[in-house]
């Protein structure tokens, strides 16, 4: 078991392959460390340079006079073993090998050398052929994509473990835009040394991480992965997306079971068995991540729907029922209060249709009733911003209500630019907002399912 702390929280970092020319990978990495405000020491390493971006450059990692916690290697593949060996001799504890040109192109032997060197020095090595790590709270950013081309998310509670660098960077860019935050991000590439199971173990213990997102094409150590997910899914929600779910080519199975239990079926079974929350699309990854990051656990499945449009209330009712939840009945008291305080056009039933002229204050009254009603376990608020009376004031009301944190509250807002602006405002204040009733209901159902599982696991 390798110590991953130096990878994610180094006090000093050597960038092997640091380059002077802007636009080169070795230059972007140095720049990103400087620009992100990394407070530790940055040591560019390049035998042909004396200075990179105003920082003193060293001929090799061994020439650095002080202690080096971690290193990022971005040099041609054939030169990597020697650089890694030098890192080991220097006492570097964690290395990210960005360079490609290993097992992914058939150079298995070269990759095996990395594993041997890592083992010899007990040094954690992430990669090769990867983007490396981002830890916004420690200002660590080894990604070779410039910040003006790819946004970086703020600090939050979601950790990302990504096998693919391309999917990983796209997701980071989207998260940055969506406005929710991450605790750690790692793209681990070929997993020559550190693999998804090691990363899961580390992030399950990481205090900043509330939820772990896992993108995998295939795992390195199946049995260990099985054991780790079984243990860790009880501690933190793990949302996984498995790429390569379709079977290419005819199966060579000779039995019924053989043909029914393909490679993806095995992953699907493992996810179900160990309560790993499976996302089938990248959209679902985001949908699930935001509800798990921000909303409290909830074992009840009675939902209150508050809306300013009848039709959207019906569609949401369908989605709620289809996903195995129920509509809350409302107490006599709640119904009496609705009749007493709301216009005659508002029926005292669930979905609670506040009608097209509802404003922020009517939403506020309805939210207070839903929070106070013991028959309500979770709340879905539909805000159709196209009406005259709905504006950013309703966002404040919803954010304030969700802040109580007693019951999960999610919102649905569909529409054009104006709606999109309000939706972002909700999201950046920690209220998940969905663009469709089915995405909202499915995400809530996943939260309830997982809450029930952990509640049961605690009782045992």
């Amino acid at each position: 078991m390798y110590d991953l702390k130096p990878i994610f929280e180094p006090k000093s970092v050597a960038i092997i392959g640091a380059a002077r020319e802007p636009g080169k990978i070795g230059n972007v990495i140095v720049r990103n460390f400087v620009d992100s405000g990394f407070t530790g020491e940055i040591y560019p390493v390049n035998p042909n340079a004396t200075e990179v971006d105003g920082l003193k450059c060293y001929k090799s990692v061994l020439a650095i006079p002080k202690k080096v916690d971690s290193a990022v290697i971005a040099i041609p593949a054939r030169l990597v073993p020697q650089a890694l060996e030098e890192c080991g001799r220097k006492g570097v504890r964690g290395v990210v090998v960005i360079s490609g040109g290993f097992a992914e192109v058939g150079n298995y032997e070269l990759e095996a050398q990395l594993a041997t060197i890592a083992k010899k020095y007990g040094m954690a090595v992430v990669g090769p052929n990867c983007l490396g790590v981002v830890n916004p709270s420690a200002k660590v950013d080894s990604i070779f994509l410039p910040t003006y081309k790819m946004g970086r998310p703020k600090v939050g509670g979601v950790a990302f473990i990504m096998q693919s660098g391309a999917v990983g960077s796209t997701i980071l860019d989207l998260i940055a835009r969506e406005g929710f935050g991450i605790s750690k991000f790692v793209s681990y590439g070929n997993a020559a040394v550190v693999d998804e199971t090691d990363l899961l173990e580390y992030l399950a213990k990481d205090k900043q991480t509330r939820i772990i997102i896992l993108y995998i094409e295939g795992v390195k150590r199946g049995k260990e992965f099985f054991k780790a997910t079984k243990k860790l899914a009880k501690i933190k929600p793990i949302v996984a997306i498995k790429a390569g779910t379709t079977e290419v080519g005819a199966s060579a199975a000779k039995s019924h079971t053989g043909s029914l239990a393909g490679n993806y079926a095995a992953y699907h079974a493992l996810f179900r068995q160990n309560r790993v929350i499976e996302a089938r699309t990248l959209d679902e990854v985001f949908d699930f991540a935001k509800i798990f990051e921000t909303q409290p656990h909830c074992t009840g499945k009675r939902v209150a729907i508050i809306t300013n449009g009848g039709g959207m209330g019906v569609l949401t009712t369908d989605a709620v029922i289809e996903n195995g939840m129920e509509l809350a009945e409302f107490t006599e008291e709640t119904r009496a209060k609705v009749k007493e305080t709301m216009p005659l056009t508002v029926n005292a039933r669930n979905p609670l249709d506040l009608t097209g002229d509802a404003d922020a204050s009517r939403y506020e009254a309805a939210l207070n009733l839903a929070y106070g009603d013991p028959t309500v376990d979770a709340i879905i608020v539909i805000t159709l911003f196209q009406t005259v009376s709905l504006d950013s004031r309703v966002v404040d009301v919803v954010v304030k209500a969700a802040g109580k944190g007693e019951k999960p509250l999610i919102t649905i807002a569909l529409g054009g630019e104006y709606t999109e602006m309000q939706r972002r405002a909700l999201e950046s204040s920690g209220v998940p907002s969905y663009a469709s009733p089915s995405a909202a209901a499915k995400s809530l159902a996943k939260l309830i399912e997982y809450s029930r599982f952990t509640a049961k696991a605690k009782k045992r």
Binding site: G222, S255, H256, L260, A261, A269, L270
Partner: protein
């Protein structure tokens, strides 16, 4: 040690794990077949034992619901005639199972996760409906019960439109036992118990198919894991 995965060897192995298989014997002659039938009691099923005939029903090499010795002898002759020039190892005589709910319990060695266990609606349309649930071995009883609840046909297990509910406890025990067997016998590559006929008071495994791993690579013994 190479495991014995012949029909008899497999029946013995299943027996070791307390898994009930329909009473059966392999006869080498019509006389022997009649003797088995008398021992098990009629009705019985005759089925050819031959490596060269894969789809036995299609080849006219299976006769069901044989009620007496006269019918048995004539069925034996018909099957042998239908087998033509194929190499025949013998004739399987099996006590005919009562009607019940046809299920499948299966196993497959996954290269990453080791043995998987499968449960679902069985019979000849199993690959059409694909109504199955899967777990990584070994499983617990709670996992087994969940596997039963997970399939679309779950209401069939609980009894619909006048049919009686099947014995969930015994089926759960069956799944746990098969999982244990798969886990402890890693030379099994694929396994079909299909159909397993479920009743209100138990179940009966009617047909067993097993495929041995092509290369029995040095497996970790389950105890070492």
């Amino acid at each position: 040690m190479a495991a014995d995965f012949s029909r008899e060897g497999m029946t013995k192995l299943l027996g070791k794990y307390g898994i009930r298989v329909a009473e059966e014997g392999i006869a080498r002659s019509p006389k022997e077949a009649a003797a088995f039938a008398r021992k098990f009691g009629y009705p019985v099923v005759l089925k050819i034992v031959s490596d060269e005939i894969i789809h036995k029903s299609d080849a006219g090499c299976v006769k069901t619901n044989i009620v007496n010795e006269h019918d048995l002898l004539s069925a034996y002759a018909v099957i042998m005639r239908n087998a033509g020039k194929a190499r025949v190892q013998g004739m399987l005589v099996q006590k005919m199972a009562r009607k019940g709910l046809e299920l499948i319990v299966g196993g497959k060695k996954d290269p990453q996760f080791g043995p998987l266990i499968l449960f679902g609606i069985g019979g000849i349309f199993v690959e059409v409906f694909r109504d199955v649930s899967l777990r990584v071995c070994p499983i617990t009883k709670a996992d087994a019960l969940e596997m039963m609840d997970e399939i679309k046909g779950a209401p069939l297990l609980k009894g619909v439109r006048g049919t009686v509910p099947v014995d969930r406890e015994k089926l759960a025990q069956l799944l746990v036992s098969v999982s244990k067997m798969l886990y402890e016998n890693q030379g099994i590559c694929e396994l079909d118990l299909n159909p397993v006929i479920a009743y209100a008071d138990g179940y009966l495994t009617v047909d067993v198919r097993v495929i041995r791993c092509a290369t029995e690579v040095a497996q970790l013994s389950p105890k070492a894991i």
